[in-house]
Symmetry: C2
């Protein structure tokens, strides 16, 4: 292709909302352009890269047993109502009504639609396993769309859904998808870190994310510092094990009786710690949430943060908020800031007003004593609190956000380290959540109905493209991994006279006839502009032809990644480029 | 591919809403499945055909200078407001609001979005012409989605938009697109009829539709019976010329004065014709529409139908309805049924209530006399009405729906014939409607701002697939044109013993290694089931291997279209299939 046929859309200016390299470079290099908040146009080169990634995904999915279909983007509300997610998905799901006031969602994911398809044709266990996938648009009404293609509102995903007679079959497909994902990301030139992940409101048990390490990542990954252990996990999912080698064992147990003391308007752990000189670790932190049906009161040790994901998974709450002052008063009898486990007037399971109270303790509080907690009395805290005496934990939970320095939950020895990551792929074992709710059954070997178990497997295509740029660029522009580059060669023509023009044209024809995909910059522009654009758009090889070339017969080949320049005869050049 | 990897989704039953062959066969053969009103899942074979059509379109668009991009489906309301179409598009455009209550449309077409892209990078006349296209989803909230893929609410279109310095350049690209479209439909094995078309609310002047002749077509095409003339047009667009060779010249002019006569409750032309014995052609028909700002009163001769499209184009109305009884009384002074041109108390341009009255006469009434019309008086009509004496037509318009038997507006001699058609492609000269409204300018050769003129060019991908089936099927199933067929060969394995299985496997491998795409039906099903499915899914060649094959060495090849059966040795079979 020639620039005169397929124009460059390069720009000298960064978009004013570009905070990250991929957004900045994909925009400046003319691969994408914003058309609204979280809505991006793919310009010709961007479209080419996107389709290359789609094709890699398609090939690997087919190789590992995927069956491609395409579902409508608009999914009837009734399917979401069957699964119960019409209400659960909240504002992130975009919705609309047709002219007859029938409601639809713009699918942010397709578990319901795919289960609906499955129940329309699955009749027998003989048809299983089957792994149906599509490569199509998804919609999520992000509160804060940002980072260009990394967090946008309309994007293309490959999403696959598998159906199985049992967990063994599900696990086989799950392992195949792990292999497929590794192959896909490798072919895309992306280094990914597979980590254990939370499965959120998708339901199900096992789940693994494919992360691209990046300072701009919105996910926190915890990785065991002992490579032999190899534990890698999303922070959301990582069980917290306190590093007692650092914090010391247990606490300041004085044996004294629990005793209220006045703290007036000092409410936070920091404030009361300063007042008492006691370390935050020896406090009991109370965090209270509620939804329309439930109040959840969580107690954890005072120096750590509650994990909302763990709390959600434990409580089953989906749309929730921090408890109101009124709710807090109803369960503690005190103003906010003085909640504690001792002398609570309500117990786990009580009705408080119209809602059910649930009380969860983090397991690390078990057996602790000499603690300070709110006294459930305005302006008072309690000291010398001992678990087992002043309150009792019958079941300890995992409620705390793990972070770097905590103990690895796998080897239980080494410390965890922390890195930031961008999720590009995610595989789940869904279980029977959707098949049960939507009445999907097949007949088993004995002619009895069997509810299939399911898996689902997603890859963000645009996000894969963006993270490839995050991992492959320099100050001059993008450096495309070969399999993603729109063209292999950027041919800079500095030709002026007839001899030079015919040299360029001949070389362009020769490269193409050798199957070397080439973009010929035949614009009427200064050499500097062409070189800058060649570096910015980032194809692997830059070939330059000008007056010198015709005189010497030597063609300049520049390797975009290393910056190395070679002077080669035509046959050497062809040999070099065909090696690739 | 094998049936054990890529299952068949064939079904014994027609969908209960299937009225047409393509809907019935694509569903039964397992290419598509309905998921909601006008919302279709593409199953694996359907997806393959769809992608083949997309690729044919892409290749031809690129060959004829198209530049591929991809725009978001969600388009900001503000773009539609700039062009004025936010209000005009009415209920056919699906709309939604995001969490911040910002409005968007699910693009039914992308003139605005593409013009917005163009103004973001077009600066100079040197960048023109450019023809940007995309292959993407479109949404139209059809009142009555039906006929499967032919009229659905979510579908894939190729839509291209070109930008030009002048009409000459626009015409060059328009002609290229005609060529591209011919090439595309030919490669898809579709016989299309290009016809002159109305450009509706897209704006612009020239416009041509590519029609597939079909009894189920929703469009009426008028074709000159003289092949040498070659005139072909959508009925909506065809100027009406009365065939006076059939109806006779002029009329029953008696010279008598106009005179009211009592018709009581007889209101329709049919009724009054029976009462008076006068032919409907000698009546004046009044048809009255209104919208929020305008009342449009049309007069045409009594034996013909008003063309709403012509009325819309003339009046500029978009969302309108038949005038209310109240409106009719206000302009005629009589009950509905008695409107006529004589003695109207209002004239063209008058304000009637809050609305402006427009009066349009069809040109065929010019010079007529001896006519019967409503008297604008309840229970009365007027006879002996003469144009020029009792009412005056200063400008005659083209308001009547032409149909078969009328005179060809091109050669003005031969009669028109009629056929039904399905629109699969449409090319328009848009002109400057969008570039002007949206402030798109480039600098011309003198550094002065120039507003580019535009063209736009659409093809419905799913509809192309459906019409290919409409044109290519028999009572046993689909007969795919070769370039669209998911596979070239359907290989029916009737193998039982080891020798037979190994024969089939070897043949399957051989076919594939020769680049002959083959679907191996290796299911554990009866021969009859396999043969039926092979005919139903409709790949061009059906190869059968069973016990006899292994014994004789002769392989059965059945040509799906002709039904011809051949017994061939392996090398003959390969030679035959590679010819294709």
């Amino acid at each position: 292709m020639r620039a005169s046929q397929l124009p460059l859309f390069t720009s000298k200016n960064d978009p004013n909302d570009a905070q990250v390299a991929s957004h900045r470079l994909l925009s400046r290099a003319g691969f994408i352009r914003k058309q609204g908040a979280g809505l991006y146009i793919y310009l010709p080169f961007g479209d080419m890269v996107h389709r290359k990634i789609e094709q890699i995904i398609r090939e690997e999915m087919n190789r590992f047993g995927g069956v491609e279909v395409t579902l409508p983007v608009i999914t009837p509300a009734e399917l979401w109502q069957e699964s119960g997610r019409w209400d659960v998905m909240g504002k992130e799901m975009m919705r609309l009504q047709d002219r007859h006031e029938v409601s639809y969602a713009l699918g942010p994911t397709h578990e319901e639609a795919m289960t609906d398809l499955a129940r329309s044709f699955l009749q027998s266990y003989k048809q299983l396993p089957i792994n149906l996938y599509q490569i199509g648009r998804k919609y999520r009404d992000e509160i804060r769309p940002r980072y260009g293609l990394i967090r946008c509102r309309e994007f293309v995903m490959k999403d696959a859904y598998s159906f199985h007679v049992d967990d063994k079959s599900l696990d086989e497909t799950y392992q195949k998808m792990r292999e497929a994902y590794r192959a896909i990301f490798e072919r895309c030139g992306l280094k990914t870190i597979p980590v254990e992940a939370d499965s959120g409101n998708m339901g199900g048990s096992g789940s693994e994310e494919f992360m691209v390490a990046s300072a701009i990542g919105e996910e926190t990954l915890l990785i065991c510092s002992d490579e032999k252990c190899g534990y890698r996990s999303n922070q959301e999912k990582t069980p917290f094990i306190e590093n007692t080698g650092v914090v010391g064992h247990s606490s300041n147990n004085t044996g004294a009786n629990a005793e209220d003391f006045e703290t007036k308007e000092l409410k936070t752990i920091d404030e009361v710690a300063k007042l008492t000189g006691e370390a935050p670790r020896n406090f009991i932190k109370a965090v209270i949430y509620e939804d329309n049906a439930t109040i959840v009161l969580c107690f954890i040790q005072g120096d750590r943060e509650l994990s909302e994901v763990k709390m959600k998974n434990l409580s089953g709450m989906t749309e929730y908020w921090l408890a109101s002052e009124e709710t807090i008063k109803a369960i503690t009898g005190a103003d906010p800031g003085y909640a504690g486990p001792v002398g609570l007037k309500h117990k786990d399971g009580d009705k408080v007003g119209k809602k059910v109270l649930r009380i969860f303790y983090d397991g690390h509080l078990k057996g602790r004593s000499g603690l300070i907690a709110g006294a459930n009395k305005t302006h008072f805290h309690t000291k010398n609190v001992a678990e087992g005496r002043d309150f009792v934990i019958t079941q300890g939970h995992d409620l705390i956000n793990a972070h770097a320095g905590d103990i690895c939950p796998q080897c239980k020895k080494a410390e965890l380290t922390e890195t930031r990551g961008i999720e590009v792929g995610h595989i789940f074992k869904l279980g029977k959540k959707y098949s049960e709710k939507m009445g999907l059954t097949v007949l088993d070997q004995n002619g009895k109905p069997l509810t299939p178990t399911m898996g689902c497997y997603g890859i963000g295509v645009g996000r894969t493209m963006a993270t490839a740029v995050e991992q492959n660029h320099d100050e001059r522009g993008i450096i495309w991994p070969r399999n993603l580059s729109p063209f292999l060669v950027y041919l800079v023509s500095l030709a002026k006279g007839e001899a030079e023009v015919s040299f360029v044209e001949k070389l362009y024809a020769t490269l193409q006839s050798h199957g070397i995909s080439t973009y010929l910059d035949d614009r009427d522009e200064r050499a500097g502009v062409k070189f800058n654009d060649a570096e910015l758009v980032g194809f692997p090889f830059i070939v330059t032809v000008g007056k010198k070339t015709v005189e010497s017969g030597k063609i300049e080949l520049k390797l975009r990644r290393s910056g190395e320049k070679l002077e080669l005869g035509e046959s050497e050049l062809l040999a070099r480029l065909q090696q690739v």
